[in-house]
């Protein structure tokens, strides 16, 4: 049974339900126990479970990650929250050198490593170069990490629950711009299956692949493409690693055209990975070259018109799709990009 919640409410509900069922879960990070904590996504959990289980941390991202690893090694299920995922760069030693390799390099004598890290991408009003990157592709590079990038309220809840039940290190990348998006969410604590991509909209003419906020942009683009009679299929990657290659390639083979859109730079990024998949596995079915869309190849600028030009959005997906399908833009009406975000941070 479901009802409509925002992405942020879904995150909150998933966390509360997971904590109700498992006393070993605790949450830490800068400001997680403030009354307005983490844009409201931990407020209810603080109210319900108190500061014994949700507690603030000094600004010490690397040691805090190591501390969570140490607690996880002793049977706890720590959840670390980074209000901006860019701060996670300071924790890469612990994340990548230790957590990701833990099970493999300690072999049969390894204790389980159930570490969960939430990192929020700060796309909003002029977040600038150090508050707007999305680390899903970077983190996805390393064997041993599971990397999630939920695009819908249902997955925001379901992936939170799934991550807090798993016995391996998991990173959840959340885009701040998704927080006010609404959608149906199960009342029950149902985990989203990890490692699966989802077809969010079926179509036969072109495949648009993305994750996180770009799925929402792609759905808008797919709607607009109907004006030219183009039926676009939208595939939500959902889990960046391990990647559901079969669902993605099945869609590419079906439509013969691919636009990959990412909330990241194209170079060495997830979009390049998906494009490579198409080249390696679907070349014979491709009717047109693969198209990648990502950030402009520069650090994120702050000033409004520059920022507007920096991000890929529904209209850029629509235009790229029209070109791949050999259709002109003449007579098209382009919807605005997804914008439920009202600021100020």
């Amino acid at each position: 049974m479901s009802r409509t919640l925002t992405y942020c409410q879904a995150l909150s509900e998933g966390l509360v339900q997971a904590m109700e069922r498992d006393e070993s879960i605790f949450v830490t990070g800068i400001g997680v126990d403030y009354s307005s904590a983490v844009f409201g996504s931990t407020t209810e959990a603080v109210r319900k479970f108190g500061k014994e289980r949700i507690f603030d941390a000094p600004a010490m991202e690397n040691a805090l990650t190591g501390i969570a690893i140490g607690a996880a090694a002793m049977g706890k299920r720590p959840l670390i929250v980074h209000l901006r995922n860019d701060f996670m760069f300071l924790a890469f030693d612990q994340m990548i050198n230790l957590a990701a390799k833990w099970k493999y390099m300690y072999g049969p004598n390894a204790v389980p490593m159930p570490l969960v890290v939430r990192g929020i991408v700060g796309r909003g009003w002029g977040q600038g170069a150090t508050h707007s990157q999305s680390l899903h592709g970077v983190l996805g590079h390393f064997p041993g990490l599971t990397v999630l990038a939920p695009a819908t309220p249902a997955d925001a809840k379901g992936m939170t629950i799934a991550a807090l039940q798993a016995d391996r290190p998991i990173v959840i990348i959340e885009n701040r711009r998704l927080y006010d998006i609404k959608g149906p969410v199960d009342i029950e604590p149902n985990p989203t299956p990890l490692g699966r991509a989802f077809v969010r909209r079926e179509g036969s003419d072109i495949t648009i692949v993305g994750c996180s906020i770009m799925v929402q942009e792609a759905l808008v683009a797919a709607q607009d493409l109907q004006q030219k009679g183009i039926a676009a299929e939208v595939v939500d990657i959902a889990t960046v690693r391990p990647l559901d290659v079969d669902t993605i390639t099945a869609s590419i083979r079906k439509t013969g055209r691919l636009v990959v859109v990412d909330t990241d730079w194209e170079f060495c990024g997830l979009a390049a990975e998906i494009a490579a998949l198409a080249a390696e596995r679907c070349l014979k079915q491709l009717k047109a070259p693969v198209c990648r869309l990502g950030f402009a190849d520069c650090p994120a600028p702050v000033s409004a018109p520059l920022e507007e030009a920096f991000y890929p959005k529904a209209s850029s997906i629509t235009k790229a799709s029209l070109a791949l399908c050999g259709e002109s833009e003449e007579g098209m009406t382009f919807s605005a990009h997804v914008d439920t975000f009202k600021g100020p941070y």
Partner: protein, 327 residues
């Protein structure tokens, strides 16, 4: 020289040091002559009193975390010698299944949770285990071993602060052997800027002790651990010691013509051999005779030889399983 511990206890500690010494010497010999152990190996020969003195004051369910020079800690805490040797030979029967090598040892049964080759990496992990122990309201403690170079990493300060603020049962054990790879402490620490003063500035009490006297280490750690178990927060112990061999590998530095430290300096420290210190104390107290010591040596050498033989006969990891165990 400190007073004799209970002779039975001191004999136990000396035998443990001898076992680690002989294991490492024999491993180093094979490493050098066979070229079969293909894992960068950092020998702790000369530093045995720290590992044995610290672990001798712990319970089996207490946990330790270590660094690249970790064989001493692994064996002192009860890690499996045959598992260590097989790991160095890269065999499936190694304690880490041949996936970790010399610097990634673990033995969950005896509380060796993790060791890592990145400086300071396991320091906060020990703090996190102590956090879990505090949350559970128990009496277990966590120990992190690290070298003097960790004071050049930021993570030690983050960790000391967190442990102090939260009153966690973690012992920070610095093995100060005066060198970071081949760079002496004098080039890395301003004169008069002692590590212990930095540690105390976080509100963590501690002391600097003779790390080559197992009795001194054992006693200091016992006192510190008692404090941890009473819930009085973290402690720091800095053990002054010296590694006899090169930073990584089986040779003495002079054998490799390295000049960053002198042979005279090495020989000064070898005269302070932790095994000799303990042995002399026991013999002076008539608690140990040559015959008993020689019998230990024979038993230990046989055990190490058998571990090496078993490792060489053990199967390699199956290549078809290379991708197993990532998640």
């Amino acid at each position: 020289m400190s007073n004799l511990l209970d002779p039975t206890e001191e004999k136990r500690l000396l035998r443990s040091m001898l076992r680690i010494r002989r294991a490492e010497e024999i491993i180093a010999h094979h490493y050098k002559t066979e070229q079969q152990m293909r894992t960068p190996t950092h020998f702790g020969i000369g530093q045995e009193a720290v590992a044995v003195g610290v672990c001798g004051a712990l319970q089996q369910d207490d946990v330790i975390f270590s660094h690249h020079r970790c064989h001493t800690h692994y064996l002192a805490k009860g890690g499996d010698l045959a598992g260590l040797v097989a790991e160095l030979y890269g065999r499936a029967t190694g304690c880490s299944g041949g996936r970790g090598g010399s610097v990634h040892l673990a033995d969950r049964k005896v509380g060796v949770v993790a060791t890592s080759a990145i400086l300071g990496e396991t320091v906060p992990v020990a703090v996190g285990s102590a956090l879990a122990f505090k949350m559970d309201g128990g009496k277990r403690v966590a120990v992190t071993f690290f070298g003097d170079a960790v004071f050049e990493e930021g993570v030690i300060y983050e960790s000391l602060n967190y442990a102090a603020v939260n009153g966690l049962p973690v012992l920070f054990c610095c093995e100060n052997n005066l060198y970071s790879t081949e760079t002496p402490l004098s080039l890395r620490r301003k004169s008069g800027s002692e590590f212990i003063d930095r540690v105390r500035s976080f509100g963590v009490p501690g002391e600097v002790i003779d790390g080559n006297d197992v009795g001194v280490v054992r006693e200091a750690v016992a006192n510190a651990v008692a404090r941890l178990r009473r819930g009085e927060g973290p402690a720091y112990i800095e053990c002054l010691t010296y590694r006899w061999r090169e930073h990584v590998g089986p040779l003495f530095d002079y054998e490799a013509n390295r000049t960053y430290r002198t042979r005279d300096e090495l020989e000064d420290w070898m005269r302070r051999d932790p095994l000799a210190v303990s042995k002399k104390r026991l013999m002076n107290a008539s608690a140990l005779g040559d015959a008993e010591y020689e019998a230990w040596l024979a038993d230990i050498d046989a055990e190490v030889a058998s571990a090496i033989e078993a490792a060489k006969a053990a199967p390699w990891p199956e290549v078809r399983l290379i991708l197993e165990g990532v998640l």
